[in-house]
């Protein structure tokens, strides 16, 4: 009988099978595509929006998202008047074209050409050129190009482009969410499975350590870290990772304890398998279901935990930002500028949905019964 030649649908070990099933699974592929797209946008997007993420636009605070170009034609005149006031001149004979503005600056004394730097410093105009002088320099005809700007996702209260900021923030948040979760997953699963499988005094000692770490106030712990190592982004990773694995270890340990009592573990022991082999081959594969589900939920939690740290001044500092910080800011200006909440929250929610979808499909792919 040539058994090996018989094609069987499920003729592979668990991991190979799960990989193949995921690759052929439409929702899983959608989830992976969304995540890849988000990551790519965060990496490359800020170069394409045309705005530096930290550039303030004093003329456009809390501008709503739109496709149209700024400045709007009717906004040019008020902007000019404000500028003229600061230059202590009067603006006359104003002619606005879509590309530029031409006007005459009038004052009682000769106009100092250096005031023209005000144009370049504003958000509405570019470098001004002098076209002609009259009346001993008391009338100065100048032309300034309009600075044409587009804020697809609007701006924040300081007039910074929200899309650029959200994408830049995504770099930190995604990296933090995925890396910290991966670290917590690795440590938590190893630690919890070991404690649950060994049982007895070792288990008790290992879990008491977890309890002790749990009881350390998180903020106190982070402040200590900051005192010793100074403030840095890497520190957030350490702090979040050090806390999040505790939950994972507890869940995994409870699961491992139940698995340890199963007959197949007893049979494996009777076969002479070492504890490490029992852990690797019997305990860990069988507790993956709840772990995957929990890990998918841990990512958004980590992202929001970071915003809490940043709020306390222990995380990222302005002008650098993260989704958590943007969402916290957005929540404060919800009434006046709802897009400040909606845009970063939209990114976070898409990430979350993609991850949950992926986690659920991964759980199904790992389930041999499905």
């Amino acid at each position: 009988m040539s058994a090996a030649a018989t094609p069987v649908e499920d003729g592979a070990s668990l991991l190979a099978r799960a990989r193949r099933r995921l690759a052929g699974d439409r929702p899983a592929r959608a989830g992976m595509a969304i995540l890849a797209l988000l990551a790519l946008a965060c990496l490359l997007g800020p170069f394409l929006t045309g705005h530096p993420y930290d550039r303030l636009h004093y003329d456009y605070p809390a501008t709503r998202p739109s496709l149209s170009l700024y400045p709007r034609p009717d906004a040019v005149r008020p902007a000019l008047d404000r500028l003229a006031l600061r230059m202590r001149v009067r603006a006359e004979d104003v002619a606005v074209t879509p590309e530029a503005v031409r006007l005459t600056l009038v004052a009682d004394k000769p106009v100092d050409p250096r005031v023209l730097t005000f144009f370049a410093r504003s958000d509405t105009f570019g470098e001004a050129r002098i076209l002609g002088r009259a009346e001993d320099g008391r009338r100065l005809t100048v032309e300034a190009p309009l600075r044409r700007l587009r804020f697809l996702a609007g701006t924040d209260t300081l007039g910074r482009d929200l899309l650029t900021r959200t994408l830049v923030a995504g770099r930190l948040s995604l990296a933090l969410g995925l890396l910290a979760t991966a670290v917590a997953l690795g440590i938590g699963v190893a630690y919890g499975a070991l404690a649950g499988t060994l049982g007895g005094r070792i288990d008790a000692a290992m879990m008491r350590l977890v309890d002790i770490l749990y009881s350390l106030p998180f903020v106190f712990f982070v402040i200590m870290l900051v005192v010793f190592f100074g403030r840095s982004v890497a520190l957030i990773f350490v702090a979040v990772g050090a806390v999040e694995w505790l939950d994972m270890a507890r869940i995994v340990r409870a699961e491992a304890q139940a698995i340890r009592r199963r007959d197949y573990v007893r049979a494996a022991e009777a076969l002479g398998l070492s504890t490490a082999a029992i852990l690797r081959r019997h305990v860990v594969p069988n507790l993956l279901g709840p772990v995957v589900a929990f890990a998918a939920l841990m990512v958004p939690r980590v992202i929001l935990l970071e915003s809490f740290l940043s709020f306390l001044g222990l995380g990222v500092q302005e002008p650098a930002t993260s989704w958590g910080v943007l969402i916290a800011d957005g929540a404060r200006s919800l009434e006046s500028a709802p897009w400040m909440l909606v845009v970063p929250a939209g990114f976070l929610v898409s990430t979350l949905l993609a991850l949950t979808l992926l986690g659920e499909r991964l759980r199904v792919a790992l389930d041999v019964r499905a």
Partner: protein, 528 residues
Amino acid sequence: MSLLALRGLTVRYERAGVTALDGLDLDLARGETLALVGESGSGKSQVALAVTGLLPPQARVSGSVRFDGTELTGLKRPALDRIRGARIGLVFQEPMTALDPLFTVGHQIALPLRAHRGMSRRQAAARAGELLGLVGLRDAAARLSAFPHELSGGERQRVMIAMALAGEPDLLIADEPTTALDVTVQAQILALLADLKERLGLALLFITHDLRLVRRIAERTAVLRAGRLVETGPTGRLFSDPQAPETRDLLAAEPAGRKGPVPEGAPVVLEARGVSVAYPGPRRWLRADAPRLAVAGIDLTLRAGQTLGIVGESGSGKSSLGRAVLRLEPAAHGLVRFEDRDLTGLDRASLRPLRRGFQPVFQDPMGSLSPRLTAGEIVAEGLRVHEPHLSAADRDARAAEAFREVRLDPAWRHRFPHAFSGGQRQRIAIARALALRPRLVVLDEPTSALDRTVQRDIVALLRDLQVAHGLAYLFISHDLAVVRALADTVLVLRDGRAVERGPTDSVLERPREAYTRALVAAADLAQA
């Protein structure tokens, strides 16, 4: 007119493509007992669920279920609830999971009384006490405040029956009510059901896989296979003159034959002296309660090719003894010699290389196979440890060989355990043990979770393997029929102590001790 009438009852699970019941016609008169017999998967429990409206939502039901003139299929909640629980009582197989562990049994019995009969709290409690007395629970009034875990399996089943009787039903449906119980308790519960039926004029629908029980209790018997009724008739006639081949197959499923004698001068494989297992008592503040002795000083000797049957009720320490012999029980003491090695005092690491010589097979074929390894990986796993020089292909070949040896198609070794039936899984578990070519196999109730016909095949397989490899078996079972077919000698355990031991035939035919006699009587062994 019959009390319960099924006409063309069909239950389909569209998504799974399974027809659980296929055009079933059945009648049950008032005061009559009808036994519904079939193997697992025959659809017998679906009947109970269909009658009580407890089928899962994805089930498609057609045909008719008439109870005392009322059509039950398609009946909505409030109307249905006036019938089930009140006029139809239901008793499940597993009394531990059917009772809520957080409430006292008195509270749980009182619930249907207050719901269906509108009794006050006080009246319901009084009636619950009466009901517990009715089902023969000793010290009934005091037991009202007991929690389910404080009762034994038999007592819990009595509570379940009391709950089913609370609404004073006309029909009692008992779905494998004694399967989870010891034989002696089984006999008591059967007697109770028969007595209640007599006194209360109940109609009883008794669902079981075990034909031996049917003879004691049912007037009529219906045999189901694959959702179809294959035969129905008076119980006596069915046993004396079965018509359908399926019925004959069920009747012949009792394991038959005897084991051949052990060859003279066979080497001693296992020798155990004074094996005890003491579980630490529950820990209290600053002190622990006295340890509980599960096995107390048992001696064993087992030769190659010999089978020692270990018999006893649940809690007698059979399984603890098996684990102690395998050195899987950390709480065990005493001397264990395997062949020429003394296993006493060896730590886990030094035991590991020796373990291939003695292998276990466990009771539950669901729980003893790692669900996320393929059957082939499971069978070949021990080879990774004991013959690490084998390549993956060699291991696979050895797994295929072990599959053939337990008469499974080797092509199936790439499937995961859930794709196999209970009997097939048990074969995989046996193949896992055999792949290491052990000299001793400890079989802990290997046939108890299986249907009778499957049991017969496993018994035959075990017997053949023993002859082919000269294996020594330590065969742990509560099922005397299987023990009689397999064992040379029998050891009867009670509360961890050896009550009686000797050659199988003399112990089972002429038991000396009262306890053994009770076991034998309850098992109701057919003459073979």
